[in-house]
């Protein structure tokens, strides 16, 4: 189990799909196809994110009469920030010199008198 919430690969896939078009409302079935997640996996994620106000939902009236209205989803402003942060954190970071470490070529440890 991931230690932090929202770091599972499936959740990250959902973030990725929603971030692709942050202002647009997305259909559930389209998200399922884009992320490759089955409905039984996708919807619990959406439900959780909606409960935490990271995703907003609404019913969209049908394109044709006689069809049911469809439920659509998009990231809230908080959700966008959160998703970007989680996705960035998940990328393996390139090796780079950090301020806390001695720069290469410095005196070897224990050599200081």
């Amino acid at each position: 189990m991931p230690r932090l919430p929202d770091t599972s690969p499936q959740t990250l896939k959902v973030f990725g799909a929603l971030l692709a078009e942050p202002a647009g409302w997305r259909y559930g079935y389209d998200l399922s196809r884009e992320t490759g997640l089955a409905s039984g996996t996708l919807y619990p994620i959406l439900i959780r994110l909606a409960e935490r106000d990271l995703v907003e939902t609404r019913w969209e009236p049908p394109a044709q009469p006689g069809r049911p209205p469809r439920h659509v989803y998009r990231l809230t402003a908080d959700g966008v920030a959160h998703a970007q942060e989680r996705l960035a954190a998940a990328k393996p970071s390139p090796v780079k010199p950090s301020a806390a470490r001695a720069p290469l070529g410095a005196e070897p440890m224990g050599a200081r008198s």
């Binding site: 259909y27 079935y29 039984g40 919807y43 049911p68 469809r70 439920h71």
Partner: protein, 229 residues
């Protein structure tokens, strides 16, 4: 009589099966959803889902979500019953199908307006055999796929040719008592390719079969005809 006696046994056979699956799926999911917004959201997407198997998977996922979200044992009992009934109906669709014979391609063996019971699974275990009747998919002239019923004449490796109006398989004339008296068959000599079969409709004059459409891929065999009603 449709042009070229196109053996449209039953385009509706597989579509009817698909429609049944979708109806069952919608009924099950609607019942399972109850008043839940998310349950209804999942049902609403069902119209977009294409393909029998995809419908089954979407429904299974929806039931699982309903189960996870449900608060009461009564609710869970409803879901369990709905799920079990759905599985039974859908499984039976995959095992046995009923098709409607709309063309004369198989006369006199199968009359127009007959119904056929098709074994969709069992024949995959035994493999298709000479002389058996199969519901199968043909690519239509305009690129659309049609479903028809035909008799299996050649298995991979068989040499099929027509001499003096009779069908010969591997050098020997076939005895075909099911044909109308006086029927003559004309075909190009041919060795059946691997993973394919050669089929002929019994009503040789009008049937659209391997003579015009070539060898049929074994994957395009939908099921073996078990009963003619």
């Amino acid at each position: 009589m449709s042009p070229a006696g196109a053996g449209r046994a039953d385009n509706g056979g597989s579509r009817a099966g698909n429609r049944l699956v979708k109806r069952v799926a919608r009924a099950v999911l609607t019942r399972a959803a109850g008043n839940s917004v998310w349950g209804q959201a999942i049902v609403a997407e069902l119209d977009e889902v294409r393909g029998t198997w995809a419908i089954v998977r979407w429904t299974a996922g929806g039931l699982r979500v309903g189960w996870q979200q449900s608060a009461s044992p009564a609710r869970r009992a409803v879901l369990a019953t709905a799920g079990a009934a759905a599985v039974m109906v859908l499984a039976s669709q995959f095992v046995v199908g009923v098709r409607y014979m709309a063309s004369g391609a198989m006369q006199p063996t199968v009359r127009v307006d007959s119904r056929l019971v098709i074994d969709r699974i069992g024949f995959k275990l035994t493999g298709p055999r000479h002389g058996e009747l199969f519901a199968l998919r043909l690519s239509g002239v305009d690129g659309k796929r049609i479903t028809t019923v035909s008799r299996l004449i050649g298995l991979p490796g068989d040499r099929i040719e027509c001499r003096d109006g009779a069908v010969h398989r591997n050098g020997a004339a076939l005895s075909e008592p099911y044909l109308l008296a006086g029927t003559k068959t004309d075909c190009e000599p041919h060795v059946v390719a691997s993973e394919t079969v050669y089929v002929l409709g019994d009503h040789r004059v009008t049937a659209v079969d391997s003579r015009s459409r070539g060898d049929i891929s074994i994957d395009d065999l939908v099921g073996r005809v078990v009963v003619i009603l």
